[in-house]
């Protein structure tokens, strides 16, 4: 399994990269970590005639907190996301999800921009981006535009990215609830999850749930945020009754694909179990802290 021939380009900065992508149009593909594109090239599922290497665009490898957002450059690697103090302080959910991607060596190379652009429905970072209402910054030679993650991700491996455009950053709104959890189930450690759950919420002085954000991955062609469930939780105590009710309602709200290996009922039950587990681990973490 070897890639088809291509011309290799190594731009030194964003402007050069955009000019190259524009010059070669649909025949060109950017490569960031190569952890998803590499296998596709090797299996010849992708055969670009120009490969534009983004790895020298160090300006896109950054994590910074601005007033009310956390901005992550597109070339930021999963390993850095998992360990950056800014992420651990203001968005630990993102760090925990990044730490669970694939394997150690994969996380050293894979980038957040590549993960969003690749748009695997079971991938961690698109789920976190949708659940937390992140916005993507997308640049072309004509300028930059901003798109909510939920609109950017259109279907399996289909995104709102035009020829010649690059994702340059993701912006996560802050603050988010201080209680959070990421739960996923996969058949083998490090494999893509069959179902994953991202959860973030806060509680008011009386212990009632406020500002809940709940998202499910692996249950549709794109990660789903569940606003009805979020509304249903509002103002209720985070007790066993509420959690079981929200989990059952979440399972009922999804319509996963039916396959012989993974029947619908199985994915639904997994979703229900993982939502319960997510609430429990969020609450346990609070107790432990």
């Amino acid at each position: 399994m070897k890639p088809a021939p291509f011309t290799y380009h190594r731009p030194a900065n964003l402007a050069e990269a955009l000019a190259l992508l524009r010059a070669h149009g649909p025949a060109a593909k950017p490569i960031a970590g190569g952890q998803s594109l590499g296998p596709m090239l090797n299996m010849r599922l992708a055969r670009p005639s120009h490969l534009v290497d983004l790895n020298d665009l160090i300006e896109l490898d950054r994590v910074r907190v601005k007033e009310n957002m956390l901005e992550i450059g597109a070339l930021t690697r999963h390993h850095r996301l998992a360990n950056a103090p800014e992420v651990q302080r203001s968005l630990p959910l993102l760090g925990a999800a990044a730490a669970s991607i694939g394997h150690y060596a994969i996380r050293q190379r894979g980038t957040i921009g590549g993960s969003l652009a690749h748009a695997d429905p079971a991938a961690q970072l698109p789920l976190i981006a949708v659940t937390l209402g992140a916005t993507l910054v997308i640049s072309g030679t004509a300028g930059a535009r901003e798109v909510p993650a939920s609109a950017f991700l259109q279907s399996i491996m289909t995104v709102d990215l035009r020829d010649g455009e690059l994702i340059t950053a993701l912006r996560f709104p802050l603050p988010v609830g201080d209680l959070w959890a990421f739960e996923a189930f996969s058949r083998r450690h490090g494999d893509f999850a069959l179902v994953s759950v991202a959860l973030s919420f806060a509680r008011d002085a009386e212990g009632k749930i406020i500002a809940l954000r709940l998202g499910l991955g692996g249950v549709d062609t794109v990660p789903l945020r569940l606003p009805e469930i979020e509304a249903r939780a509002q103002g209720r105590p985070a007790d066993e009754n509420t959690i079981r009710d929200l989990a059952a309602a979440s399972a009922a709200a999804i319509a996963p694909e039916d396959s012989e290996q993974v029947p619908v009922v199985y994915r639904r039950e997994l979703a229900e179990t993982l939502v319960i587990r997510a609430f429990q681990s969020a609450l346990n973490r609070e107790k432990g802290a």
Partner: protein, 165 residues
């Protein structure tokens, strides 16, 4: 802007501290260049899609899959392969522990494991068995059942910390 690139490319690669001038097609994987052009056959090739870990090398000191990297991307970066880690007559602490604990049988997966953990034990000198298993999940082994590899890594870690074991 980068000069237009014509195949084959003339590259200057730094591998294990040595610089090599080579001419290879842009599409040639780093794993193949290491094995075929530089005769560094310690880097093994299994799946060629990032799953098995046999081709793991270090790029600027950090583990990476050589089969998901093009040699052309490595100009200006330092590549380290298993050949830089101990010799048959002077095994590294980790290699010695793998030997003692029967952490290998056919040895096909071993170079990737050695490269991964030589790095990892520097980042985390006192890992738990669970942490070792998490990292080891990135390296497939058809022979050992992993138990002995985990034992060897923990033994090497203890020795590197200066604890008798």
């Amino acid at each position: 802007m980068t000069a237009p690139t014509h195949d084959p490319l003339t590259l200057s690669l730094s591998v294990n501290g040595e610089t090599h001038e080579i001419r290879v097609p842009a599409r040639k994987l780093l794993s193949d260049v290491l094995r075929e052009d530089l005769a560094l056959t310690g880097t093994h090739v299994g799946c060629e899609h990032g799953v098995c870990g046999a081709c793991t090398i270090l790029i600027d000191g950090r583990p990476a899959r050589a089969c998901l990297t093009f040699a052309a991307q490595m100009e200006g970066h330092e590549v380290t392969t298993v050949e830089a880690m101990g010799r048959p007559d002077a095994l590294s602490v980790l290699q010695q522990a793998l030997h003692e604990e029967h952490g290998l049988q056919c040895g096909f997966c071993t170079p990737g494991i050695v490269v991964t953990f030589e790095h990892y034990l520097r980042e985390n000198p006192d890992p738990t068995a669970e942490e070792v298993r998490d990292v080891l999940s990135g390296n497939l082994c058809r022979c050992t059942g992993y138990q002995n590899i985990v034992a060897a890594v923990l033994k090497a870690a203890a020795r590197m910390r200066g604890e008798a074991a």
